[in-house]
């Protein structure tokens, strides 16, 4: 088997232009115009995409909404024609691009399986042979013989997925369809993925669950604004995507392995020689360690900014989808994050010490101000929450018109992934002045990869079961 035989997908110089028409009339005019005049605006969904996928690989495609993921999958599934470039796919392709595509809601699941199988090029007898397997995999009971308009979206997806698997494709393409399945069915699908991989079949799937990429894929691929940012190790790609998400705009044409990713462990460039923060390895930096010159400089600029209006949206870590509530007696008008002398980093190493500064403007007298912070993950789960009342810290009473700045220093022993910071200002623990849910968004990275919401200290070894020759490690569980 030569190299070409091992390729399942080859995408060469693929670009896709969408024509945006002001109206349907313009669309028809352009399509039928004998002189081929144009009546549209252009939008490039993909630009010059090149990559290959080897047979048997599972590729996880990551990208923000509108980055061109679905367009790319549709081109590979030959639902769309590329404007330029070519795509070669070896073998039969089954694609789950949208829930409901290819299924007539008026027909039963059983009838739709026959229709879908025929579209995929199977004969009626081939389909009927597989029907019982499909029915068993979909596992939706008597709904299998009910019109699909009566199905829940989960049932729909089960039938679609079962059909796609049992038409026995060489290449399976899945566009976020799995996300409607319950956890049990998802697990079943991923187990099925493994069987697919073992059979040397190729899977392409789009996901927003970044942790799924290192868990299930051999290869990750990151798209941003219609361009291929990078393709490679799933863990690296998950991190890169995290960066794309937090930074928002990544410069196009990023060369592979360029230094665009912030270097987390470098010493502070402006650190005074012998300065504790600059010199010491950060893992042992004390939470009360002195503040560097650079740090002070960043902080001074922050403190000197005298605008008494909301400055948070100017922060690079600001999350425009934050939610805000409170009685308005006090207002969080600005914040600052400093980590290893970097101001407002969007990507931070797990375990780093980060200073969070909050500038609060008081509109009323508040006798006993309380400030709290909460860390939530992208599902909104609170992983850590604390406030000055619980910490038994008493803050100085504030008068209307006062501006105060408070600092939290946190060692971020959270898991790899996206994190959101929620600061809150209150008069009492129940009387909230200003709470800004998911105000800041940053991404934590670490090596080697691990999953979950927290970083635990971990050790591992194999325990010898040979009790006779106990010459081995006397403390097998010590890290």
């Amino acid at each position: 088997m030569n190299h070409a035989d091992k390729l399942a997908i080859r995408v060469e110089n693929v670009s896709k232009k969408y024509k945006l028409f002001p109206s349907n009339r313009a669309r028809i005019r352009e399509a039928l115009d004998p002189w081929r005049r144009s009546f549209h605006h252009e939008f490039w969904a993909l630009r010059d995409i090149n990559f290959t996928v080897s047979r048997g690989h599972t590729v996880g495609i990551l990208g923000m909404n509108g980055s061109g993921k679905s367009t790319l999958l549709q081109i590979i599934a030959s639902v769309l024609q590329p404007t330029a470039g070519t795509v070669h796919v070896t073998g039969r392709v089954a694609a789950l691009l949208e829930l409901g595509a290819g299924f007539n809601p008026d027909f039963t699941a059983r009838e739709n399986v026959v229709l879908n199988g025929t579209i995929m090029g199977l004969s009626r007898s081939e389909i009927l042979d597989r029907m019982s397997s499909i029915e068993a995999f979909a596992d939706i009971g008597e709904f299998f013989d009910q019109p699909m308009k009566t199905h829940s979206s989960g049932m729909f997806m089960r039938v679609a997925f079962a059909t796609a698997i049992y038409v026995d494709p060489e290449v399976l393409i899945i566009d976020e369809a799995l996300s409607v399945g319950d956890a049990k069915f998802q697990e079943k699908c991923f187990r099925r993925f493994r069987a697919f991989q073992d059979d040397g079949k190729t899977i392409l799937f789009v996901t927003h669950d970044r942790s799924a990429v290192p868990r299930y894929c051999n290869v990750g691929l990151v798209l941003h604004q219609g361009q291929l940012v990078d393709m490679g190790d799933p863990g690296d790609m998950a991190d890169l995507y995290g960066e794309v998400l937090t930074v928002g705009g990544l410069t196009p044409h990023r060369p592979r392995q360029s230094g665009l990713r912030p270097v987390v462990d470098r010493p502070a460039p402006d650190a005074v020689p012998g300065d504790p923060v600059g010199d010491r390895p950060r893992a042992v930096t004390s939470l009360t360690s002195p503040i560097s010159v650079k740090h002070n400089e960043i902080l001074r600029q922050f403190l000197e900014r005298a605008i008494l209006a909301d400055q948070c949206p100017l922060n690079p870590t600001y999350n425009k989808y934050e939610q805000r509530f409170g009685n308005g007696h006090a207002e969080i008008i600005d914040y600052l994050m400093i980590e290893a002398d970097r101001a407002n980093p969007t990507t931070i190493a797990v375990g780093a010490d980060v200073d969070f500064y909050f500038k609060v403007l008081f509109h009323r007298d508040v006798e006993d101000p309380i400030i709290g912070i909460t860390f939530t993950n992208s599902e909104g789960v609170t992983v850590y929450a604390v406030n000055t009342a619980w910490m038994k810290e008493t803050l100085i009473p504030a008068r209307a018109g006062d501006v105060r700045v408070y600092r939290y220093r946190v060692r971020l022993n959270l898991g790899i992934g996206d994190w959101f910071l929620e600061p809150g200002m209150a008069e009492t623990t129940t009387d909230i002045c200003d709470c800004r849910t998911a105000l800041a968004h940053f991404y934590l990275i670490d090596r080697p990869y691990y999953g979950g919401l927290a970083k635990l200290d971990i050790g591992f070894s194999e325990v010898s079961i040979d009790t006779q020759g106990s010459s081995g490690d006397p403390h097998p569980l010590s890290p």
Partner: protein, 277 residues
């Protein structure tokens, strides 16, 4: 258009590709045509029987009204009922194919978006499902003809020829109607008005012999006239194919022109379907 003409004069390559696509997707076309029929009568007790019973009832009504109410008579031999029957069977199939064709893409929207599907077969699907009904109507017609003592002759063998002609004509129209209808539903509304006019302009309930001169010429320019008369000539009047010469040439020029033209319009508009639906 100029570019395409240069690359593919007479759209021959495009047409060959289309025919090849029809052939390679024949199983799918058949499957969809059956689905089409069953879907239309999904929530009924007698199901597809309606597809045949309705036209038969309509034929009876038309015959009764025109024979006994309007007292229309044909000079030539066979009973008036049979003349109406022979004319209505192809017309109904034709109008059914056009009505179905106009909705072909719209009604299969679940096949248009996000799925690799050969859309160009959809108008054929509606024509085929109309043909299935046509088959049943023909069977009824044959039985009635034989019972009425109309001789079974070799002239009957012309039937498939006229059927094919109607299929080509209807497919051409369907491509145009189905693709334009996606962009503006006016098409299906306009179609029902056009079909009504067309029906009465075609000598189905009334004898063409009543006309002469310019009026007759205009009626003969109607391509459906060729099919309707063809059916009658073959089944009732025992006329050879040459009876309508040179209308054959005219009919095929019109049908094939619409076929190519329709295929071209469909091909041009096809990439936009998914964006509009």
């Amino acid at each position: 258009m100029t570019n395409e003409l240069r690359r593919d004069p007479l759209f021959l390559r495009h047409t060959v590709n289309l025919l090849r696509s029809f052939w390679s997707h024949r199983r799918l076309i058949w499957q969809l045509a059956l689905h089409d029929l069953r879907g239309r009568y999904a929530a009924t007790l007698v199901g597809s029987l309606w597809a045949v019973v309705n036209p038969l009832i309509l034929i009876l009504v038309f015959w009764f009204v025109s024979a006994h109410g309007l007292r229309i008579t044909f000079q030539k031999g066979p009973p008036y009922f049979l003349i109406v029957f022979c004319g209505l069977v192809p017309w109904m199939t034709f109008s059914e194919a056009l009505n179905g064709g106009a909705g072909a893409v719209l009604n299969h929207r679940y096949l248009v978006k996000k799925i690799a599907f050969p859309l160009e077969i959809l108008p054929i699907v509606s024509a085929i499902s109309a043909l299935i009904v046509h088959g049943f109507l023909l069977a009824v017609l044959f039985v009635i003809l034989l019972v009425s003592g109309i001789p079974l002759t070799f002239h009957w063998l012309q039937m498939p020829y006229f059927l094919l002609g109607m299929l080509v004509l209807a497919t051409g129209f369907s491509w145009i109607l189905s693709s334009l209808n996606v962009f503006s539903r006016d098409v299906s509304h306009a179609l029902s008005a056009v079909l009504t006019i067309w029906f009465w302009m075609t000598p189905i309930l009334w004898p063409a012999q009543n006309l002469s001169g310019t009026a007759l010429t205009i009626v003969r320019l109607n391509p459906v006239f060729y099919v309707v008369e063809g059916y009658r000539n073959a089944l009732l009047y025992q006329q050879p194919l040459s009876a309508m010469w040179p209308l054959d040439v005219y009919f095929w020029v019109v049908s094939v022109t619409f076929f190519f033209f329709g295929a071209l319009i469909f091909k041009r508009l096809k990439p936009h379907f998914a964006d509009v639906l």
